[in-house]
């Protein structure tokens, strides 16, 4: 589960060492926007060293690399991939060609390092108008792709509108991204909430993301992790209901009934599907700390 993906600046030893204790399902070690150009090398070496020497408990480790229009992306991969991050997050992905180039590079590196080919996953950041247009084909372009992350800051710059807390300007982008990801069979992830001291705003934004079908949300502040995890976790009520759905199906099966109802409502395929996902999520979260 990736209810939360916490961004950590790649050039900060303290943050990286403590990253896996902040409760997020995934941590994103950032070599891109959180690192100034004169420290790209320092961050890369620190992230590489951390992957080599540290363990991250049950946290998934994602490395956000610099975009393919910079001179950094290739060395980022060359240095970091041998130490097997779980996922690489390429930025400003606008078309399938970018993915092709990345996959080719990853294939070569995995081969060279004796890693299982395809074991390093991709989670592209969709933050350009063109990227949003091509979202479905990007999402379907490689088996390595596990999801799409919406990058609202850069996207709104590309769309030439202002980024607001209410988020009306990204309504379309959110809907489109969810649709593209689901159509391709991968997970959609929402952009981070950027106001630091606004817990109500965070909750509203996150609940909106959940209601739109996102699987989780990127987070830039450790203090946001708990709440976002909570919102993306199935509630005890939802789990109870899901269990009841399957109990009702079993019951109906025993009695040879064709049509199944629960609490006066017909149980049709979408309800069963939702119940299944809830129970899967609950199972995945057993033994994971919130």
């Amino acid at each position: 589960m990736r209810r939360t993906m916490l961004f950590l600046p790649g050039n900060s030893p303290n943050m990286i060492a403590n990253g896996s204790f902040l409760g997020a399902d995934s941590i994103i070690l950032d070599l891109e926007d959180a690192v100034s150009p004169d420290n790209k090398d320092a961050a890369r070496n620190l992230v590489k060293s951390a992957l080599k020497h540290l363990t991250f408990g049950t946290c998934e480790v994602i490395v956000r690399i610099n975009s393919l229009d910079t001179p950094y992306w290739e060395i980022d991969l060359e240095e970091v991939v041998p130490y097997h991050p779980d996922v690489i997050m390429p930025t400003k992905v606008s078309d399938c060609l970018t993915i092709e180039l990345l996959v080719e590079k990853l294939d070569t590196l995995e081969q060279k390092c004796g890693l299982e080919i395809g074991s390093v996953k991709l989670l592209p950041l969709i933050e350009t108008a063109l990227g949003l247009e091509h979202a479905y084909s990007i999402a379907s372009s490689s088996k390595r792709i596990v999801g799409l992350l919406l990058g609202a800051e850069d996207l709104t710059a590309d769309l030439r509108c202002e980024r607001t807390k209410e988020g009306r300007e990204i309504e379309y982008a959110r809907g489109r991204l969810v649709n593209a990801a689901r159509a391709a069979g991968v997970e959609p992830y929402d952009c981070p909430f950027t106001a630091i001291a606004d817990p109500e705003g965070l909750a509203v934004d996150t609940m909106l993301a959940k209601s739109l079908g996102f699987s989780g949300k990127a987070v830039i502040n450790p203090r946001h992790v708990s709440r976002v995890n909570e919102i993306f976790s199935p509630t005890t009520g939802e789990i109870e209901y899901a269990k009841n759905v399957f109990a009702a199906i079993e019951e109906a099966g025993k009695l040879g009934k064709g049509a199944i109802s629960l609490n006066g409502k017909m149980i049709d395929a979408p309800i069963v599907q939702r119940a299944k996902l809830v129970l899967e999520a609950a199972r995945a979260l057993e033994g994971v700390n919130t």
Partner: protein, 91 residues
Amino acid sequence: MMIVKVGIAGTLESSDIMIRVYPGGNGLQIEVESLVYRQFGKHITKLIETTARELGVENAIIEARDFGALDCTICARLETALKRAGKEAAV
């Protein structure tokens, strides 16, 4: 790797280590100042020496000011400082 200029990496923050590398012709001269010198001084000096040699550096002056950095941070900062001080331009 040949050390041809000054290379600096790291910060003075807690859990970090600031490393300065200077060109020097007399083998590896390593000087360590550390918050945890009593406990890890010898170990840190040895680690810097070993890591420098692994990167092919045999001659350099290395000064380290440590604020309780873990081995992984020391290795990373040293590698960065050495490459910045080395012949090829660091990317």
